[in-house]
Symmetry: C2
Subunit: 212 residues, 2 copies
């Protein structure tokens, strides 16, 4: 990660994984170069946005020629650290947690849930997809030996603040939560909320409004 | 849904579910009024943004007094149609689909998966949480008798375009997809992509950059 990444707008960074994935697909299909207009059509992003985004990562394209796909993949891959497996911990092995552990980002070799935790004594000790579920109190010790880069939590809202306080205490700074209620964390800790209910409600709302 | 909703910015609408849910929580805990500054602290949204958002839904607050929580809940609830159950169809009953069907938005009485479809003959006919899994080809007939407002798809990317074409043909206009690759749909069809891999990658990226 080069220091100038500091200045890259958050929205541009948020688009990086979709750029990266699409370019890998194009390369797999034998493409060598692509113009922003063509890429924009595929991923439904404005070409001007793509060109601006790419410019933050250096002068990567030539006018009229397009972008060199292999070069982009290399640059973006380095930023996303796709060559290095990033270990994740899963907190909460209910129905959703179980599905995440079984799937375990199998299409993305650089992400892997390497340990899982639950509060339910009936679940602790069970092994799913080679990961044995531990009591949450083990996390502090596990984190000393495993390189855990982030946490995925399926802990329900009412218990989440308490769990987050413990995670912060363990030194975790990246948390993806499936519980929608915001929690309080220190400034250096990042929590991303993925609320399925809101996603569906927003979808239905947008469809309805555009029907008016 | 009142016609002036047409003019409400998409970002304001996207925040509506989180406003609604937080206000319901506050009401459950006995609160009657709230100021934008207090609400902003809870949900980590700028008070000016909250006041602007709320203004789109009518003049709902009084300066120095705050917003009447019950009134906001009523207004927002009407827009979100929370009093009316919205039937959803699930396409793809693998690990993730199964978890979604077992959980089935149980904390949100207004959203419900009422039918589920898969291509795998081993899965078709199985009943999960009172929903019997049907072949996808049944959707067109089912949709005549059931009020399906939207579809949740866990179909993998390589098969998704074909499935989407069929959904569009069946008259579906709202699709939430767990496959990240964008698909082509007519203008009146809304597809929302929920890509867990990108979510995790973005999270780790943000944490790393702020560590620089």
């Amino acid at each position: 990660m080069t220091p100038h990444n500091k200045k890259i707008p958050r929205m541009s960074l948020e688009r990086l994984p979709i750029y990266y994935r699409t370019l890998c697909n194009l390369a797999d299909n034998g493409y060598l170069r692509i113009k922003s207009a063509q890429l924009g059509k595929i991923i439904q992003i404005e070409p001007t946005t793509i060109r601006r985004d790419f410019s933050y990562f250096g002068d990567l394209g030539k006018s009229g020629y397009g972008y060199d796909i292999a070069h982009l993949i290399q640059i973006f891959g380095e930023i996303l650290e796709v060559n290095e497996t990033q270990g994740l911990a899963l907190i909460g092995v209910g129905n959703l947690g179980r599905a995440l552990l079984i799937n375990n980002f199998r299409r993305n070799p650089n992400l892997e849930i390497i340990s899982a935790y639950d509060a339910d004594p009936h679940v602790i000790g069970e092994t799913i997809n080679k990961v044995t579920i531990q009591p949450l109190s083990d996390l502090k010790a596990t984190i000393q030996t495993q390189q855990i880069k982030g946490v995925i939590s399926t802990v329900p809202s009412h218990a989440f603040q308490e769990v987050v306080d413990y995670l912060v205490d363990c030194g975790i700074t990246s948390i993806l939560s499936f519980a929608p209620e915001p929690v309080h964390v220190p400034k250096n800790v990042h929590v991303r909320y993925l609320d399925l209910t809101s996603e569906v409600q927003n979808l239905l709302l947008l469809a309805e409004i555009s029907d008016v």
